[in-house]
């Protein structure tokens, strides 16, 4: 059994599990005025401070959400609405062509329902967004509502020059959002230093419980809410706060960032062994993404002549769990928009697998994969590509 899909979800850290479980036993709505409510609110605010400290933000900038998708939707739609309300010319959204669906589909929704225009900022063959390409796409910028470029890509692992890109957006006074769901806990993420105006993070990608996340939103950044109600989170987000999940999110974010350097070094070494091993046992496998500026736990390969679906199924049958890219509700595989944006054709794009390592990964996991892979690839080649 080898779990090589930490980018989909990574095991909950024991400390986060303990913190969440303990908080689950407590009664109290963080908005209530009595002692139980105050106890809950205290846990929420301590969690907020912990998350803020972990990512170089101020506590007042942390807006808790139900996860990465909500954070991305709130940032994209909320910034768009607020910016357009301030100046009706601002109807254009700029986003990289390799964004997660939570950003991609939110932008498409604005185009379909809110009269937005979109400019997809291109990437190079390694999946990188170049500051010059962003500057070109912005143009005079007076019609631009926001720019959204992810910190690190969830499929191919390429890390973007977020600080440089945020600077380019700021040249024209445009707010910059980054989906840092894969980055927090894996890379050095410092909101203040990066200059980003909004940053999405998600608990279950860094060892916290699922269903909890945050949008780190600069205090002077105007954002129209998606969810209306009690206005619990800075009036930008309503809904009774999930105290146990937030306590777990805080514990996990604190630990993951505190241990980040040593974990990243260990995972990068393991990942490099995996990459070298795959090249050794399947010589024509092609590593996708930036070979240097990439997530420490990410290895993404194209296997010519194979379908990712076949490879996944054959590995799954041997207890080796990997991904063909990002999961989709219907379970139907589509060629990855990320690989297509990187210039790959559909057939090549369909023959890809992502191996992602995390805090519980060991050399034995990599060995298990490398032992199984040659026969699996050989069989998948017999199945062929439709």
């Amino acid at each position: 059994m080898a779990y090589l899909d930490h980018a989909a979800s990574t095991p909950v850290l024991p400390e986060a599990l303990a913190a969440t479980t303990e908080a689950l036993a407590l009664t109290g709505n963080a908005s209530s005025l009595h002692a139980s409510g105050r106890r809950a609110r205290r846990l929420v605010e301590e969690s907020r401070e912990a998350v803020a400290a972990a990512v170089g933000a101020r506590p007042s900038e942390v807006v808790f959400t139900a996860g990465g998708t909500e954070s991305d939707n709130l940032a994209v739609k909320g910034l768009f609405w607020a910016r357009r309300a301030a100046d009706p010319r601002r109807t254009r959204v700029l986003a990289s062509a390799v964004e997660h669906h939570a950003v991609l589909d939110a932008v498409e929704w604005l185009v379909a329902h809110e009269g937005a225009q979109v400019t997809w900022v291109p990437v190079d063959e390694l999946g990188r967004v170049h500051p010059a390409a962003l500057r070109d796409a912005i143009g005079s910028g007076e019609d631009v509502a926001l720019v959204s470029v992810m910190w690190a890509n969830n499929e191919v692992g390429t890390v973007q020059p977020v600080q440089d890109l945020a600077e380019v957006a700021h040249e024209r006074g445009i707010p910059f959002h980054t989906d840092a769901v894969q980055a927090v806990g894996a890379l050095a993420v410092d909101v203040a230093e990066s200059g980003v105006d909004a940053l999405s993070l998600s608990g279950h990608k860094l060892g916290g419980p699922p269903g909890a996340g945050a949008l780190v939103l600069g205090r002077d950044v105007s954002c129209t809410p998606l969810l209306h109600g009690g206005g619990q989170e800075r009036d930008v987000r309503s809904g009774t706060l999930d105290v146990p999940a937030l306590v777990g999110l805080a514990a996990a974010t604190t630990l993951a960032t505190a241990r980040r350097k040593e974990t990243a070094e260990r995972l990068a070494e393991l990942r490099d062994a995996l990459v070298a091993g795959v090249h050794r046992v399947v010589p024509d496998a092609v590593l996708n993404g930036d070979p240097v500026d990439r997530l420490p736990g990410n290895a993404h390969f194209g296997f010519p002549g194979c379908e990712g679906d076949s490879l996944l199924m054959l590995l799954d049958a041997q207890g080796i769990e990997v991904s063909t890219g990002s999961a989709c509700t219907s379970g139907v595989a589509r060629p990855s928009h990320v690989l297509v944006a990187m210039g790959q054709d559909e057939v090549r794009a369909r023959g890809s697998l992502r191996f992602s390592l995390g805090h519980t990964s060991t050399a034995a996991d990599v060995d298990e994969l490398l032992a199984a892979l040659p026969a699996v690839v050989e069989r998948a080649r017999r199945v062929g590509v439709r």
């Binding site: 076949s310 199924m313 054959l314 799954d316 049958a317 509700t329 379970g331």
Partner: protein, 352 residues
């Protein structure tokens, strides 16, 4: 054996997979995504391609504790079933898309892929039996699907497991309930899965365009009406003809033939529908026999059988019927049976 269970999300395929598991096989479930843009929810008895069906299939696999995947075969389905369906109607014939799907998708694309992946065969929820490798009717004659499986070759049948053939539909549902399968009481699917609203004529019109032409009376030779597309008519059809000139004898008229080039639909009295000889294209023998051969033939899904004598004719068969058949439409399959055993299948090309 390592078996791949094709799971539509319906009760039959779920129980078939369950029986394969119970028989000790190593079973993996797959749901075939056949629609390009699947509807989210299922409506009534139509279709098997919604996301809800995929979820139902996944839930059945969960209950059985077997691995489950979705295979996207929309391109294959479009190319070999939907395109064939349209081309056949455009050519004045009456296709059977379920048969084509079995032939080209389920037991070719899926079976080939399964074998290549290292499976020993596929298991499906069709109501038919394999008796010592010979395809036979289900014990539930009302649900029997041997007609749409008769197009399979012996090699395909050899890699197929049909666990439901000894069970009636009621028994299948009872088994599903006993196994805790949520689809136990899900309505049967019928109609054509890719025509979501059930409006076949509308589907054909949308895809083939309006092609107006005359409706001609076979007896008088007179033009008695018009139509907007000959493809919407099937031999034997009586309803929806909208004829302006009544028949001389006042009796109902039926579609006798559809001629696509001149776009002529010919109508006539019921007895003119009667045929005694059916000619076919090249056959697929699931249980090869020498010709000439006395046996029975079924000429449409859920149709009656006719005693017949089969002789070679060109690449196919000339089937002399013991009792006349009505409304034999080119494009349908003529399936030969010896009792419950399927002997072979061929596509009807003409009848007189």
């Amino acid at each position: 054996m390592r078996l791949l269970a094709a799971m539509s999300g319906g009760v039959d395929s779920a129980v078939a997979a369950a029986l394969a598991v119970d028989a000790g096989h190593d079973v993996t479930g797959v749901h075939l995504a056949l629609a390009e843009a699947p509807a989210t929810l299922r409506t009534g008895s139509r279709g098997c391609c919604s996301r809800e069906d995929a979820r139902d299939a996944a839930r059945a696999a969960d209950v059985l504790g077997i691995p489950f995947y979705v295979w996207d075969l929309a391109a294959e389905f479009r190319a070999s079933v939907v395109a064939d369906f349209l081309a056949e109607y455009a050519a004045g014939r009456t296709p059977n898309p379920c048969l084509r799907c079995n032939e080209k998708v389920k037991f070719t694309a899926v079976l080939d892929r399964a074998l290549a992946l290292g499976f020993d065969g596929v298991v499906t929820g069709h109501h038919a039996r394999l008796v010592d490798g010979v395809l036979s009717r289900s014990v539930d004659l009302a649900k029997d699907q041997s007609y749409v499986l008769a197009v399979l070759t012996p090699a395909q049948l050899a890699a197929t497991v049909l666990p439901l053939g000894e069970l009636t539909k009621d028994e299948v549902r009872a088994l599903a309930r006993r196994r805790g399968l949520g689809v136990a009481d899900k309505p049967d699917s019928h109609d054509i899965c890719f025509i979501a609203d059930g409006d076949t004529a509308g589907f054909l019109r949308d895809h083939l365009g309006e092609q107006p032409g005359p409706v001609v009376d076979a007896l008088s030779g007179a033009v008695v009406g018009s139509h907007t597309g000959a493809y919407a008519y099937t031999v034997g059809q009586r309803r929806g003809l909208d004829l302006r000139v009544p028949a001389a004898d006042g009796r109902p008229r039926y579609v006798l033939s559809v001629e696509p080039v001149s776009r002529t639909v010919t109508v006539g009295p019921a007895e003119a529908l009667e045929v005694r000889t059916v000619r076919t294209g090249p056959p697929v023998w699931s249980s090869p026999r020498a010709l000439p051969l006395g046996c029975v033939v079924q000429l449409r899904a859920h149709g009656m059988v006719h005693d017949c004598t089969v002789a070679p004719s060109g690449e196919g068969w000339a089937i002399a019927l013991g009792t006349p058949a009505r409304g034999v439409a080119p494009g349908q399959a003529a399936v030969l049976y010896d009792g419950d055993q399927v002997l072979g299948s061929a596509t009807v090309v003409g009848a007189q």
